[in-house]
Amino acid sequence: MSEGLFGIHGAALEIRAQRMGMLGSNIANAATPGYKARDIDFAAALEAKLGGAGDDRAIGSATRYRVPVMPSLDGNTVEMATEQAAFGENAVAYTATLGFLRGRVETLTRAIKGE
């Protein structure tokens, strides 16, 4: 039902939220020795999700380890600049998706009210 009403945006919002958690983990583990930073390939995750894969499968298959610009001695691959840029980008995209959803909701309520 919600897939028909909200199209691609419901799935997109879910992946954006998941990605926010993953990038948050990276920022949290900036000082953990041996921690490998991960990120979700958004396009791949969305494609898998729209193809009918469950949340876990879609996210799991689209998760990639970050390739650091300059590897550190303790094996940690978190680079704050990269993570913060990705976090910011993801937040903006989340807001955009929310905007699309809000527009959809408004359209639907108008239709229901018969305006």
């Binding site: 958690g21 948050g24 996210i59 976090f87 807001t95």
Partner: protein, 130 residues
């Protein structure tokens, strides 16, 4: 685990790191009567803690250990703690390293707060969808 719990634990870990650096700075220059009694810098060790259900990982403080550095032996015969050779053992605290440690911990604490406030704002906006 939510992003807020994750952030809270990460910030606590950074706090432990800051406290350790503060302890080290406070004990910089303190002397002891023997090599064993001399203060050795505290160092917290972090470990990743994965929450399999959500795929998020937070930070766990694995333990706070004493750094394995030799105290500095100083010849000071007039010192009340001096041993029979007239030596005292000073704590091997590198003040510059501790300052850097503190600065890094506070930056990472700030980064986490920034991420959390962005996440909070996004969640509030999501809830306002009517």
């Amino acid at each position: 685990m939510t992003l807020f719990e994750l952030g809270q634990r990460a910030m606590s870990a950074q706090m432990v790191r800051m406290n350790a650096a503060a302890s080290n700075l406070a004990n910089a220059g303190s002397v002891a009567a023997s090599e064993q009694e001399a203060y050795r810098p505290l160092r917290p060790v972090f470990a990743e803690q994965l929450d399999a259900a959500t795929g998020m990982s937070t930070v766990r403080v694995d333990g706070v250990y004493r750094a394995d550095v030799a105290p500095v032996r100083r010849h000071e015969p007039g010192h009340p703690l001096a041993d029979e050779n007239g030596d005292v053992w000073a704590s091997p605290v590198d003040e510059n390293a501790e300052m850097v440690e503190m600065l890094e911990a506070s930056r990472q604490y700030q980064n986490m707060i920034e991420a959390l406030s962005t996440a909070k704002q996004l969640m509030l906006e999501t809830m306002r969808m009517k």
